[in-house]
Amino acid sequence: METNYLELTIGAVLVYNFVLSRFLGICPFLGVSKRLDTALGMGGAVVFVMTIASCATALIYRYVTTSVKIFGYAADLGFLQITLFILVIAALVQIVEVILQKFSPPLYKALGIYLPLITTNCAVMGAATINAGIDRGVWPATLFGMFSGVGFALALLIFSGLRERLELSQIPRPFQGMAIALITAGILSMAFLGFSGIC
């Protein structure tokens, strides 16, 4: 299958933005977007995890679930796809966590509960299943994962910037806190609708 890389990139970052268009990964989007610096750290972690997770799951998909042959017996392991993806992603995140703790304790501290949460993050799973769904090659799948992560980080950064300013505003009592954050997220998502139709 011929892949248009430009289309793939723009599509992953803007048009089909994971948070604002596909509504995946909302938990860290709302949880870690209070401050710009933690949002930056979280964005970086997601880009990293999504890239390697996409690569690993594409490999699994290509060489294990669809075409495994053991002792001459072939089997279609499509039903095992989700289980295997979870297994691989969980292991990957664990490794990332261990490495982060060693080399960047402040970032490790800042990400707190959200790093383990990436394990079950639907954005990461989503990237893997989308790749599997349209049977992308390993290289385009990795690229797709990376740019989806970039799109996620972008949304997170924009939103945390907004929230830092929201915090200074005088908001009517019923809307304070998460309520106004969700409204803002909705409006931001609507703004991203403007990209639809590019590719």
């Binding site: 915090e167 200074l168 505003s169 005088q170």
Partner: protein
């Protein structure tokens, strides 16, 4: 020769600023200064200068003569305090201070004779005196900045050796609405102002002397111009704009130089003094009189006869109100200083200090009580701010107690001139926010 030095093009103004709708100067600008009579009791606050408060040297029951030392300087940034008249110290204790708190003060019961002390300082010939001698005289006379800041004048006259001072600027802008004390001073005693300027220039070894006067005082400019040549002083008419009389804005208007962030006028090679300070310096040098009296504008529509008065330091404000004919309408607000930067008072018993340039009474009909609303991001405050700050966003940061961010956004450069609060259509108490942040940041820096 100073005259041959090229003078940089002068902007005669500064970016930002406001034009208060009601300047109220017409109430008193034609009223000649009247010397206040002797009252029976004076309340002299001990700490009337920025820096270390002076150390009390008298005790209850002591008889003092006019000009006697009440307290002596307790450090470099400190000035002595003198008795405004002769009499007996009846008490040493708390008195209402200008900030609403009680402050230590000396109560002096006048004996009515108003006799001068025997140890009065001898007159100096400023044309031949050494600069150090002049500086000591300024300190011994207890002179502080009389425009409002009350910073000891001798400290300004003693810059550290690495700062080159080339210009002395006298501040006759008097941009505050209502106040006319400096205006009348320049009109009635121009000689004193000019001599004071020349004395300070000699103390600093500077030949470039400017007097900046707002153009709404043409008579004062003419009067000063008549005599200015004799003392090598250049009188400059400035655009009428608030806060033209702020040091940094005045320096920019007169020299085109900018004081660096967090810096002092000396960083731009200038020393700025109020015209009233200059007159006090002249008195101290030429006749050995310490700073015990000043010209104060007592004004406001509720007063029967507002005017400018020569009052002793320590006169309770209530006496001045009586002097100005009492009130014809019930006053609602008493402000010490001008309406923009002055402080609302809680008591008429508050005494006049060295830096009280005005006493302003406002009637109920002149005061509007606003409820402040949220910032609407209209940017009026940005346009008004002479320091190019953004008061609106700063106030929101401060409301949320983000003092670190406020400091990053230069809240410490705020002059507290009140232009932003005046301009704000939502009537936000912006200056109060800035003052709180500045106090808080200073407190944290001390820790």
């Amino acid at each position: 020769m100073a005259a041959n030095k090229p003078i940089p093009p002068k902007p005669l103004s500064f970016p930002g600023g406001i034009h208060p709708a009601k300047d109220g100067k017409s109430l008193t600008e034609k009223k000649a200064v009247v010397a206040a009579p002797l009252f029976d009791r004076y309340v002299v606050q001990i700490s009337q200068n920025v820096g270390a408060p002076p150390k009390l040297v008298v005790k209850v029951g002591d008889a003092v003569k006019k000009g006697d030392l009440l307290a002596e300087a307790s450090g470099f940034v400190s000035v002595p305090l003198h008795a405004p008249t002769s009499g007996v110290i009846s008490a040493v204790g708390d008195a209402p201070g200008p900030m609403g708190t009680l402050v230590p003060a000396v109560y002096l019961d006048a004996d009515g004779r108003d006799e001068w002390t025997a140890n009065r300082m001898a007159p100096l010939d400023w044309r031949t005196a050494e600069p150090a001698e002049l500086k000591n005289r300024v300190r011994d006379a207890g002179i502080v900045g009389m425009g409002g800041a009350a910073f000891p004048t001798h400290v300004k006259l003693s810059p550290p050796p690495d700062k080159k001072i080339d210009t002395v600027i006298l501040n006759g802008a008097e941009c505050e609405p209502y106040l006319t004390a400096d205006h009348r001073l320049m009109l009635e005693q121009p000689e004193k102002v000019l001599v004071g300027a020349a004395v300070m220039a000699r103390a600093l070894g500077v030949e470039n002397i400017f007097i900046g006067v707002e153009k709404n005082k043409p008579d004062a400019i003419d009067k000063l111009n008549e005599l200015a040549g004799k003392y090598g002083v250049k009188v400059v008419g400035l655009k009428v704009q608030y806060p033209q009389g702020s040091e940094k804005q005045l320096i920019y208007a007169l020299t085109g130089r900018c004081v660096p962030e967090g810096g002092l006028p000396m960083d731009a090679g200038c020393v700025v003094q109020n015209v009233a300070t200059a007159a006090a310096v002249c008195d101290a040098v030429e006749s050995g009189v310490p700073l015990i009296e000043r010209i104060t504008t007592v004004t406001g529509t509720p007063l029967a006869a507002p005017g400018n008065f020569l009052v002793r330091i320590g006169t309770p404000v209530i006496r001045l109100v009586e002097l100005a004919g009492g009130v014809t309408e019930e006053p609602r607000k008493l402000i010490l200083g001008g309406p923009m930067m002055g402080f609302a008072q809680r008591s008429f018993e508050v005494p006049v200090a060295k830096n009280s340039s005005g006493v302003l009474l406002l009637a109920a009909s002149e005061i509007v009580q606003y409820d402040s609303a949220g910032c609407m991001r209209c940017g009026m405050c940005l346009r008004g701010c002479p320091m190019h700050l953004s008061p609106g966003p700063l106030s929101m940061l401060i409301e949320n107690e983000k003092f670190d961010l406020a400091a990053q956004n230069h809240v410490m450069d705020c002059l507290e001139c009140g232009a932003c609060a005046y301009a704000c259509p939502a009537h936000r108490p912006l200056v109060q926010h800035m003052r709180r942040a500045k106090a808080e940041i200073r407190k944290r820096a001390k820790k």
